[in-house]
């Protein structure tokens, strides 16, 4: 039989190992970092359609991650989606006339916001609004438009023949 002291030490180490595992699962695996938000500032933009964009979705410039989507709400009068983005405070000089567009990573990937910088001397700060936005491409809508056009083409050809 081991001494009580050894048992207590090994049980303590066991508990510590489990706590470490919980910390790994929380922060490394599930990305539960909202308690320690990195320094940043908020920028909003209005979109007609945000597609599959989710809170915590990435915000990128030129493919480089610079922030994340922190909130998505609906404007009650214009029925447009208001997306609040939290931009990393290291990225300070984004021109204020830049445009934001919602793109898809790969054919079936998640949506993300891509900011295309323009040439203004004024920079985006906390609370700025990005004026120029491009909505998400919805595959079903595109197919719908395409089919509609094909249908019209058929009709036109028939009319031309007759």
């Amino acid at each position: 039989m081991l001494s009580q002291r050894t048992i207590e030490t090994s049980v303590g180490l066991f508990l510590l190992a489990a706590m470490l595992a919980l910390a790994i699962l929380a922060f490394k695996v599930s990305g539960l970092t909202s308690f320690f938000q990195p320094e940043g500032y908020n920028v909003t933009a209005q979109f007609d359609d945000i597609g599959q964009l989710k809170v915590r979705g990435p915000v990128k410039i030129g493919g480089v991650l610079i922030g994340e989507v922190s909130q998505i709400t609906l404007d009650p009068t214009t029925y447009r989606a208001i997306v609040t983005m939290r931009i990393n405070s290291k990225v300070t000089d984004i021109p204020s006339d830049s445009s934001a567009s919602i793109l898809t990573a790969g054919l079936l990937g998640d949506n993300y916001i891509a900011i295309t910088p323009m040439y203004s001397d004024h920079y985006l700060t906390n609370g700025s609004v990005i004026q120029e936005t491009h909505s998400a491409m919805i595959l079903e809508k595109l197919i719908g438009q395409f089919l509609f056009k094909i249908g019209n083409m058929g009709n036109e050809q028939q009319e031309n023949h007759s």
Partner: protein, 260 residues
């Protein structure tokens, strides 16, 4: 004919009595006033015996299960060109299902069978009865620390299993098969939710820990006090607790997915 009906009825009554005894055991352990000063060292000793000594098998099997899931998942996902989704696949399957269930099955085999054998032998050699003679309540001295230790050890072992399995998947996916480190972790972080995936897995493991230790203690206390009786009680512990784990897993998963 009449004898068969009698035997059937006797069997049914016996099963119901077993349930009653098990329920009474759990009720008495749960509802007595704990004595922290005396009980705490006993619980620590049992956590050492059930939890710390099970660490090696949990670590090794966690590592290999993570590695195997990553290897299998990679070859299936690569067919669809989605091998970057390996991280979420492994993390979700381990945190939601494999972690709690495999840990509980290993725990049933490694720790609970030993509990049954120990208590069965104590009963067979009249140690429990002699404790009662000395005015020591065997429930407090023997049964209750073991139940609490199982209840505490299972979630801790599951946490360690999950972390090790995900690390094993990282070894295979990133170090061996050459996936991108950043994509592996960031895809995992974006699709694993702390409450819905990781905490629900831990809740499952807490319930499994309670149920399988309870089964083991009941079987030990109810064992026929002969060597054959202890052997069959140990077998029943492993069989019943494995069945209980798999059955409960389905029920709990259904409850959790149903937004309970």
């Amino acid at each position: 004919m009449m004898e068969q009906v009698t035997a059937l009825g006797q069997n049914g009554l016996h099963t119901i009595r077993q349930f009653g005894k098990a329920g009474a055991l759990l009720f008495r352990v749960m509802c007595y006033v704990p004595n922290f000063r005396k009980g705490f060292p006993l619980v620590l000793q049992q956590i050492y015996a059930e939890g710390v000594l099970s660490l090696l098998i949990i670590l090794v099997s966690g590592l290999f299960i993570g590695m195997v899931v990553a290897l299998q998942g990679y070859h299936t996902l690569a067919k669809f060109g989605a091998s970057a989704e390996l991280g979420p696949l492994v993390a979700l399957s381990v945190a939601r299902e494999l972690g709690p269930v495999v840990t509980a099955l290993l725990f049933a085999g490694r720790a609970c069978s030993a509990l049954t054998a120990e208590i069965g032998l104590m009963k067979a050699t009249d140690q429990l009865a002699s404790m009662e003679m000395m005015a020591v309540d065997p429930l407090r001295r023997v049964i209750s620390p073991r139940l609490w230790a199982g209840f505490i050890s299972m979630p801790l072992l599951t946490l360690i299993f999950n972390a090790v399995a995900i690390y094993g998947a990282y070894l295979v996916g990133v170090k061996w098969l050459g996936l991108d480190t950043g994509a592996f972790w960031s895809n995992m972080q974006s699709s694993v939710d702390f409450h819905a995936d990781i905490l629900n897995g831990i809740y499952k493991s807490i319930i499994f820990g309670l149920v399988i230790t309870w089964i083991a203690l009941h079987q030990g206390q109810d064992a026929v006090p002969t060597s054959a009786g202890i052997a069959s009680a140990t077998t029943r512990t492993v069989v019943h607790s494995s069945l209980a784990i798999l059955g409960l897993d389905f029920v709990l998963t259904a409850m959790m997915i149903g937004g309970w």
